[in-house]
């Protein structure tokens, strides 16, 4: 509201639309389901996997980064984005280093420099260490590394935007207990880190060095001991609060559940094998799908044993669909572009050509920015955005 201009005399359709699009402040009721963010990020990642054009990849990274900057919270998991970017850079660097030292299959004419080549015996044919390094080969590995890095950064974006605990909460009922175990484990990791810090400072209090093998050995045991004690305490608390209460289920239902789950999993395994094996492509896919359906039915039936209900589950509203669909749209557009104009998405390295930004795929990639408009704004960001605006108003 603060962003909208001075009150217009009449509410025109345009204004109504703007008001509807204006993202509300995020709270529990309108929080996007974690699944929506993951679908959006996987869409971007799929798009990235279809191209090696560095301009498009850069655009995708920019889109993901902008959305993260606009919509991430102060939560601990939200800080992981930087780590993923560093990981991406590391992957690019590693890819280049391997290419330089181990050579590449890419034929090239532009020699950048030549490393002394290690003479290898005959049986190691096809393996090369050192030797000529060409510009083509470097550019190829750069493109390739960038593709991997973009995939990682998209996953990092989902990771920093979606609450992992909420993602686990949307597991089917039969898997609930496994989900709780993961959530408890996730809250344990920071506690253990805190323990380590505390015990290291305590070593200092006794005048001992805080580093070294002895320190690790001496701190390790109390940390594990503390973790064990805490898990026993949490287990007691969960037990006393009704964790694991089960409903009475008829024996027939129980047996059906077991048969369905096991049969379904077997089907999934056989189907996957069929898909991967050379001659099984015909029955592979149907078998995989049937197995999945049966396993899902088993899980659903298994959920009957659990009496638990869900408190305020995430709702898939219009905004969630928009976020998820924007990612899917980017992926679809990129796949289509790959079929229509493969040259634009995979700029050639032999001969070396400057990559060109294909207009339509680039425009499609920008659809991925939609979440930065429609997703609810986290409160802290909103405060930061509003404060200057309000100050401006007060001065006016």
């Amino acid at each position: 509201m603060t962003a909208s201009p001075a009150p217009a005399p009449a509410s025109t359709p345009v204004r109504l639309l703007r008001r509807a699009l204006h993202a509300p402040e995020a709270d529990r009721a309108n929080a996007l389901p974690a699944g929506a963010w993951w679908l959006w990020a996987l869409g971007l990642a799929t798009a990235a996997s279809r191209t090696t054009n560095p301009l498009l990849l850069g655009l995708l990274i920019g889109v993901a980064g902008y959305v993260v900057a606009a919509r991430r919270t102060d939560a601990p998991w939200a800080r992981s984005y930087g780590a993923f970017i560093k990981l991406g850079l590391f992957v690019v660097a590693l890819r280049l280093v391997f290419s330089v030292f181990l050579g590449s299959q890419i034929p090239g004419t532009h020699t950048v420099f030549t490393l002394p080549e290690l003479p290898l015996p005959d049986w190691a044919q096809g393996v090369r260490i050192g030797g000529r390094v060409t510009a083509e080969q470097l550019v190829f590995s750069l493109y390739d590394g960038m593709k991997l890095a973009t995939l990682l950064i998209c996953v990092g974006a989902a990771n920093s935007l979606a609450n992992p605990a909420r993602l686990l909460k949307s597991l089917p009922g039969a898997l609930y207990e496994a989900g709780v175990a993961v959530v408890v484990a996730m809250t344990f990791a920071p506690n253990m880190v805190a323990d380590v810090v505390r015990l290291r400072t305590a070593r200092r209090l006794r005048g001992r060095p805080t580093g070294g093998v002895r320190a690790v050995a001496q701190i390790g045991l109390p940390v594990l001991e503390g973790a064990l004690e805490r898990s026993v305490a949490v287990a007691a608390s969960m037990d006393a609060r009704g964790y694991g209460r089960t409903a009475q289920v008829p024996a027939a239902v129980r047996h059906t559940t077991n048969v369905l789950t096991l049969g379904g999993l077997l089907g999934v395994c056989a189907g996957t094998y069929g898909l991967l094996a050379a001659q099984g492509a015909v029955y592979g896919l149907p078998l995989l799908l049937a197995g999945l359906v049966v396993a899902m039915a088993g899980l659903r039936l298994g959920g009957r044993r659990s009496v638990r209900t869900r408190y305020r589950p995430d709702r898939w509203g219009v905004r969630a669909w928009l976020v998820a669909c924007s990612g899917a749209a980017v992926a679809a557009a990129m796949i289509w572009a790959g079929a229509v104009d493969p040259e634009a998405l995979r700029p050639g390295v032999v001969p070396l050509t400057a990559p060109v930004l294909p207009l339509w795929p680039a425009a499609a990639a920008l659809i991925g920015l939609l979440p930065a408009l429609v997703a609810p704004v986290p409160p802290s960001n909103r405060a930061a955005v509003d404060r200057p605006a309000q100050r401006g108003k007060e001065q006016a």
Partner: protein, 642 residues
């Protein structure tokens, strides 16, 4: 509501039952307080109500416990979850989810309540406990009092008929404890919840109790009765009851308000007696408190007061006004403490250095650092000496920042040898940070810290050990070894002390603990004493304690007070960070109150504490405006006057 019928509990591998012959009934809608010294089985008794004993902990329970007609033998804890809510001392060990709202809903989800019911109850509970603004916050970012309220709220949402609380306020500052107790009060009065609660800090809770169950000794049958009656016979009782007994009031007052009504006569009797001399000068105050029977365990005849306490007595008659009393009884170990002028810090490292080379301690285990340290020690001996002429700990304009948070701002503080300073203030006020800066764990962002003339954060830990010692909030953090003896040997080596120094200290502070005892098997108070002995092995002139009375009962607290008084009389400067106003009143010469990282009050205990509603001990509240702080002061004055 809760019935115990001939209940006894015995854990595996123990000779005597932890509980036996428990035969009592807790009526519906009452707040029943469970009291008794440490180790009498209070937690076990509470555990039997929720079914965690014996279903979760193991052990053998005989007899029968029924809660609202459900027998805990046939009902597992999870099947009692809709009836009994349990909250322990450490709220963090209780939480399963990560945000306040999810935590409140967790119990109801497990019970399978309908979504609209859950939603309504969460909103009601948020209002009832005043948590509405915190609903979306991650639990880890809440303060201790808020966490404890969330823990209580999380067991309230399934609408249990019985609430079982094990020391709910022990870890909280006075204000946060009052928050929690107000909530309990409201539950009992408005919702008719039955509350069964164990708590060491009786001064906080006894006035709210409808009945008190006393477990006098391990294995002894419990006594149930009205609070005033039970407090007369209880081995543990709050200062207000202590004062009431002393003055012979009947009925025994349990709240400050009741006591003030009857205190007119006592105030008159005390009016012409002078309150204790201004406690600014440590020597004088030691003399005052050194009167016979005046210290620590006076209400606990059985409490063994370690030998340290006879030091103030010995030095008392002299009433030395100076800051330091020459140690009447030199500490064990070879180097006699410096001249009468004060603990000459320069003498300590040199003496210990000699001890180190002479005894060849540690040279074999860590050859390189040992040699290096010795080299450094010799090399730096000359520059240290002039600085060491200043035994006073000085903090000047100290600021500490963590990220964007300013944990401390412009803190200025000096601590003279022989002086005891209590740091008080709410959780998160910066008390632990200040201790951390004094011991060198935290580097100051601005300002200076000088301990024994050195900047702690820039000095090698091995050198600092002999200048300042900190007993952390969790004394267990200091213990690594399997046995007390190994722990002592390691401490001697760490501090470069002659072998046996630490063991002698342990025998002094912890009589009757064998060499082979595992530190984990010690009680809370014993563990604290062991940690204290380890820290004292380096004979640091400055001793810091962070929340030393957390989880201690009155007896252990009494022993601690005795030990610390003895150390102060020997010339140790002591800084305590504590929420325990009674401890501060007993021990401290000076109280420093921190708020938001700033010093808001600094002065003699009497003056600072009497004027403050939150930090005044009960005796001060009862006898205000006269400046009496502890029951023992009043007793001594009355005896002297009689």
């Amino acid at each position: 509501m809760i019935r115990f019928e001939r209940v006894s509990v015995r854990y595996e591998g123990t000779e005597h039952p932890t509980l036996s012959g428990v035969d009592l009934t807790v009526p519906e809608g009452e707040l029943v307080l469970l009291v008794g010294p440490s180790g009498v089985g209070k937690s076990t008794l509470l555990g039997t109500v929720s079914g965690l004993v014996p279903h979760f902990t193991g052990g053998l329970l005989s007899g029968r416990v029924t809660v609202d007609g459900r027998d805990t033998r046939t009902h597992k804890p999870r099947e009692l979850a809709d009836l009994v809510g349990t909250v322990g001392q450490d709220p963090l060990a209780h939480f399963v989810t990560d945000t306040v709202e999810d935590e409140l809903a967790y119990g109801m989800e497990s019970l399978g309540l309908a979504p609209d019911v859950m939603r309504r109850r969460v909103e009601e509970t948020l209002d009832l406990l005043g948590l509405a603004e915190l609903r979306d916050r991650p639990i880890a970012t809440l303060s201790g009092g808020q966490q404890q309220r969330v823990a209580i709220g999380s067991v309230l949402t399934p609408h249990p008929k019985v609430l079982v609380l094990d020391e709910p306020t022990s870890a909280l500052d006075p204000a946060a404890a009052e928050e929690v107790l107000a909530v309990l009060q409201r539950l009992v009065h408005d919702l008719g919840t039955t509350v069964l609660m164990a708590e060491h800090r009786l001064e906080r809770v006894v006035q709210y109790a409808d009945q008190v169950v006393l477990l006098p000794a391990p294995g002894a049958p419990p006594v149930l009765g009205p609070p005033a009656e039970i407090m007369k016979v209880s081995p543990v009782r709050p200062p207000v009851a202590e004062l009431g007994l002393l003055a012979g009031w009947d009925p025994l007052p349990l709240s400050v308000r009741d006591a003030r009504r009857g205190a007119g006569g006592l105030r008159e009797r005390l009016a012409d007696l002078s309150p204790p001399a201004p406690t600014g000068t440590p020597g004088a105050s030691e003399g005052m408190s050194g009167a016979p029977e005046g210290t620590s365990g006076s209400h606990l005849p059985g409490a063994s007061v370690p030998a340290g306490t006879d030091v103030p007595r010995a030095s008392g008659p002299g009433r030395t006004p100076g800051p330091v009393v020459a140690a009447a009884r030199p500490p064990p170990g070879p180097p006699p403490r410096g001249g009468a002028g004060g603990p000459a810090v320069s003498a300590v490292p040199r003496a210990w250095g000699r001890g180190c080379t002479g005894g060849r301690v540690g040279a074999a285990a860590r050859p390189r650092p040992g040699r290096l340290a010795r080299l450094l020690g010799r090399g730096s001996a000359a520059p240290v000496t002039p600085a060491a002429a200043d035994p006073v700990t000085r903090v000047d304009g100290l600021g500490v920042r963590r990220g964007r948070v300013e944990a401390l701002r412009r803190v200025t503080l000096t601590v003279a040898p022989g002086e005891t300073v209590a740091l008080m203030g709410r959780n998160g006020a910066g008390k632990s940070t200040l201790l951390g800066a004094l011991v060198g764990m935290i580097e100051p962002t601005s300002g200076t810290v000088r301990v024994g003339g050195l900047a702690p954060a820039r000095t090698d830990p091995r050198a600092m050990v002999r200048r300042v010692g900190l007993v952390p909030q969790e004394p267990r953090d200091l213990l690594y070894a399997d046995t007390v003896a190994a722990e002592c040997a390691a401490a001697d080596q760490d501090a470069g002390a002659v072998a046996g120094t630490c063991r002698a200290l342990v025998s002094e502070l912890l009589p009757g603990v064998g060499d082979d005892t595992h530190p984990r098997d010690l009680s809370e108070g014993q563990r604290l004493a062991l940690a204290l002995a380890l820290v004292l092995t380096g004979r640091p002139p400055l001793l810091l304690l962070d929340e030393p009375t957390r989880g201690l009962d009155y007896a252990a607290k009494g022993r601690l007070v005795g030990v610390l008084r003895g150390l102060a009389a020997e010339g140790h400067a002591i800084v305590l960070a504590t929420h325990d106003v009674e401890l501060a009143a007993e021990l401290a010469h000076r109280v420093v109150i921190l708020a938001d990282g700033e010093v808001v009050a600094d002065g003699p205990t009497g003056q600072v504490v009497v004027s403050s509603p939150a930090f005044a001990p009960q005796t001060a509240k009862i006898l205000a405006p006269q400046e009496w702080l502890t029951v023992s002061q009043v007793r001594d004055a009355l005896e002297a006057g009689a």
